[in-house]
Symmetry: C2
Subunit: 662 residues, 2 copies
């Protein structure tokens, strides 16, 4: 007596991707509820089950839904916005835009577009990392895809969290809400070690372990990143992440382009997953990951498209083909990453990398019904050879296209039938996206005429983002300050003395706080009072975000630096500012340790415009609100120690003061 | 009064790829006969022309048909047959198969499948190189695509030419017949310098110049090839080709993966085109061509898919995207080969590389109407940004798919409308291809159980192909021979002496000429008669093709060599021969020059099975029938000089003689 089931997919070549790589040339898959209840030869399965719905897959391949192991789905809305740029310029271009546009509604729309594209490409599971991950989860669950979703946490102000502590709180709430959901696996996503402090990494690892959820982060994407890690921490990236607890989690490490064998071994030992993103790594000139070596060590490598701003699509057929091709040239061996193994990366091994292989990645009894049915009759995939079992993998990996995918099911629910999307209103999503694109176009076009873009066009820039607590106090006399500095409560780390000649280009006469460009000549002065070195730099100072603390402010601002290798006259003509402000000052500077904390003290004599007395500035870098509060308190103590009344602090910077004095 | 024309494509974004990169956001193209008569803003063109047919392209891109600068179209019929192999194994697998199956009918069918796929991918022009190019030309012209077709010429026996001289004759006839055709540009295609003699290269270059047609060849595909060239000719590949006249032609050089800057400069100076084949180069682990450098020198680089046996598709959208991505990582600079320039490689620059830019590659008045119309509304290509002019190139290169191509026209004739192919019966072609695949499957499955495949599976092989003229004479006594060798008519280049212990595995008892496997131990003997060195090798000797000359035969045969690192017992069990023949002999060998020509003389004393007297063998490598005739004459003279009667020559080899003696 046949058992009743919901669905029978039958007559196709079933590519199971189970441990034995079982293939059924004329096979069938039976589905009951959200799960697979049978996989095998068509006649056997048909005899054993009586299905409410039977789908004839003759001439097609029935395979596991593909697994996209690393992406940033909302970035579909930034697709093709700015290509062919250097990473720093690209980030400089993108990040302010993200801060302007990224909202829960934005990420939901981006998720919708991405899911539509991914379903069309046969993907049923993906690993994401972005802002407002809560909204991404809601949208993904409604559409019905499976996902590992990581709430991004980093030291810079994010669209959804001004500090990383806010990010951690958001992430904990996100996990509490979604953990155990049938489709959504929440995760902790510190963006990367280089946008984290050790405390942040540690806190993320603790959070991931506390809830037994994966941790999804970027590691070793660029040579520069790895060099920086060695420089800053005297070790490569995996040991540094390990030292901060990251390898003690269910880790999914994206990119891993620049690892040595020891690091690969450590990842394998830690049971970590790697998301290999070949298109993104090529497009940003990051390099080619040594996937062949990783697989020799049996590392769980998946394949990811990365975000559509660096790809520019979410096509796993393209991605897995590229992975298979690149691995051969990377290892100088055309037998590396053959078709079957490449498909494994895009299915079961990708699921392992995401720590979700208990539910997806292969067609096996007991797993969720995550299935793609692929047409094989396109002229681009003719003829079919059948003299060896691996021919079907060759067809799928080297010749099939995402547009060959006919039907997609996730968790037992149809998401696409005969190329019709069933859970996304694609036309509406496209119209909504067009609207967003129009707004972004307007924003960008306005910025086109901005000093920022002109600076980029001129010479390229380096980006610096600072998050600084500071206080500035006018004082009549420097004697008490100098005496206190030489006292025994401060440890002086470094002294310097220089003359600064600043020319500020202002672009908005009515708002002295708006973005401005500074042309600065620094003359370094030795003990004998002689200038021994000079340099010129351009700095574009973004609009500041200020947060007040007692007697101090915390500033978060972005700066774009460029060597100034042309004359002031040239820059004046080129940038055509609305106004200019000149500030000359004599600066004595001390880096000191007070109560074990690092501060910079500037004692400035402003000579142009002539200002009476001196300005005392105390500054310190900070990464979090709690740290800023503590430093604000220490700075108040420090002002008192230097004999200065904290109540007399001013908040304007020199350009503002000088502008007011004009 | 508007001028009457045949066709107006209007309302789309016209991407002209002309020298100014003109774009018309709402543009139109007017076509009369085979040519473009207007390109411009839609309203202007509509006002000026009254068209018999108007195609509304709103929301689409109207662009030049893509140019596939290097392929082997009949190899669609070998797609996916044998992937993920080393080049030597791959060739060893493929070449006997080509000899078995490649006929005019085969190449026509393969061309049909390829053209269907290429038209679907927006390609209107391609550069091919294969056997029976005449048949490819006929099929291509009927289908209506534009092509540069090169008749392959090489020193090995080809399916359509037993010697290269036959190939040259075939090529000349091909050119005479097709030169001046509106779609087909015939070309001369020496396969590569390493499958050519200097005379062959020179003859090809002369032929190309005589008819002013392009010369299409493979250059610098692998590191091994370049190293071999330096070793054999003391120079890299471009100078060697230049030395033999190849750069004095309208050259299209495929691959060019391993060139130095000087070679690139020489190509540029020669006005040569380069066909960059990124997928093929990755898949065979050949490397990544330095396209960024080539473009800095303004070299005419096009993009090619290569044959579908090493790709495995003919998708120029994939190919140009990969070219753009790879160039960035190859040069460690993400700004290299930006989208617009990448598209240029796939259109006008590709046409220049093929020396056909006078008629195709861009949408310009006076050029032939080679046009692709591409849908841009797929969800994978949303949203559209318009804040800079290059956005459309980003969409086309980084996100569009070949399946987005809606209409294709070549030479003013529609080849595809709304994805319907108008000049290929795709269903019939697919059915025919399935039939061929079945035959190949059967051939391969039979071979599966063959010593060849067993040898490949065991250890991989090196392939050698020889084309040899030889004579063998039994003699009673060696005295007159030894005296003559020491005489003054021969110049001795090298002497050697060794003992050979051969074990032949026979797989067909009834045909001693059939393929056999030889296990050979060579013991090298010094002047004192002591063995000073030994080696063991396996050689799979293919069925010989024999051609008789007076007193001599010309043999062409393929051999597959492998180091024999296991015991005879192992090989006996593994290969399970039907019969074995043992031949031991003492061989004295001289390499001599006679009348300036290189010959090998063997004086063999066969000790097992014991044979009376000696065997005298004279051999020489040859590349052509004329050369073989000349050498056969010289060998007759040489036999007389050695005091041996030419009339007593035997034709059987030692295995055959021993087999007969058993």
């Amino acid at each position: 007596m046949p058992e009743k089931v919901d669905l029978l997919l039958t007559g196709g070549a079933v590519v199971t991707m189970n441990a034995a790589y079982d293939l059924y040339e004329n096979g069938a898959v039976a589905v009951q509820g959200d799960s697979i209840v049978a996989v095998g030869p068509a006649d056997e399965v048909a005899a054993a089950y009586d299905a409410a719905e039977v789908v004839d897959c003759t001439g097609q391949v029935i395979m596991p839904g593909l697994v996209n192991a690393h992406t940033h789905v909302p970035m579909t809305l930034l697709r093709g916005l700015n290509d062919d740029l250097r990473l720093d310029v690209w980030l400089g271009y993108l990040m302010p835009l993200e801060r302007e546009f990224v909202t829960p509604a934005f990420v939901k729309l981006g998720t919708r577009i991405a899911c539509a594209e991914m379903i069309r490409s046969g993907i049923t599971s993906f690993a994401d990392m972005y802002y407002f991950e809560e909204a991404i989860a809601e949208e993904t669950a409604v559409i019905g895809m499976r996902a590992l979703l990581g709430q991004t946490i980093l030291i810079f102000p994010a669209p959804d969290a001004p500090t990383y502590e806010d990010g951690l709180i958001l992430c904990r709430r996100f996990i509490e809400k979604w953990n155990g959901h049938e489709l959504i696996q929440p995760a902790v996503s510190p963006h990367a070690w280089y946008t984290a402090t050790p405390e942040l990494l540690r806190a993320c690892a603790d959070l991931a372990r506390a809830f037994d959820v994966p941790l999804h982060t970027h590691i070793a994407e660029t040579r520069f990143e790895v060099d920086s890690c060695r420089e800053q921490h005297n070790m490569p990236t995996i040991p540094w992440n390990a030292k901060n607890g990251v390898l003690d989690t269910k880790l999914l490490a994206a990119h891993c382009v620049h690892l040595d064998r020891g690091e690969m071994y450590d990842l394998e030992k830690a049971g970590a997953g790697v998301a290999h993103c070949p298109t993104s790594n090529l497009k940003l000139a990051s390099g080619i990951a040594a996937v062949g070596q990783m697989l020799e060590m049996n590392l769980n490598v998946g394949v990811g498209t990365d975000g559509p701003a660096s790809n520019n699509d979410l096509d796993m057929f393209e991605e897995v083909r590229l992975a298979a091709l690149l691995a051969k040239t990377q290892s100088n061996d055309p037998t590396v990453l053959p078709a079957r193994q490449a498909l494994e990366l895009a299915t079961i091994r990708g699921a392992k990398a995401m720590h979700m292989d208990d539910v997806t990645g292969s067609l096996e009894v007991g797993k969720r019904a995550d299935i793609a049915v692929v047409d094989m009759d396109g002229v681009h995939n003719q003829p079919h050879f059948n003299n060896h079992a691996d021919a079907v993998y060759s067809r799928l990996v080297y010749a099939a296209k995402s547009t060959d995918v006919a039907h997609v099911m996730c968790n037992g629910r149809w998401l696409m039938r005969d190329r019709d999307l069933l859970t996304v209103d694609e036309a509406q999503a496209k119209a909504d996206a067009a609207q967003v694109a129009e707004e972004i176009d307007a924003f960008v076009l306005e910025r086109e005429s901005s000093p920022y873009n002109k600076l980029v066009l001129l010479s390229g820039v380096q980006r610096q983002e600072s998050f600084e607590i500071q206080v500035k106090v006018p004082i009549a006399d420097d004697a008490s300050v100098l005496a206190a500095i030489d006292g025994d409560q401060l440890e002086i780390v470094k002294r310097s003395h220089y003359k600064q000649y600043d020319q500020y280009f202002m672009f908005d006469r009515h708002d002295p706080d708006a973005a401005r460009l500074r042309y600065r000549e620094d003359e370094f002065v030795n003990d004998a009072g002689e200038v021994f070195q000079a340099r010129s730099r351009l700095t574009l100072i973004g609009e500041e975000e200020r947060q007040a603390f007692p007697n101090a402010v915390m500033l978060s601002r972005s700066r774009f630096l460029a060597e100034a290798d042309r004359t002031l006259r040239f820059y004046r003509e080129y940038f055509d500012p609305m106004a200019e402000v000149e500030v000359h000052k004599d600066r004595r500077r001390w880096r000191v340790l007070y109560q074990g904390t690092d501060f910079a003290i500037n004692l400035d004599d402003v000579t142009r415009p002539q200002m009476d007395g001196y300005f005392l500035e105390i500054k310190s870098r900070t990464w979090s609100r709690t740290d800023a509060e503590r430093k604000a308190e220490l700075m108040t103590e420090l002002l008192e120690l230097l004999g200065v009344d904290p109540e007399t602090a001013v908040t304007e910077d020199y350009a503002g003061l000088a502008f007011a004095a004009m």
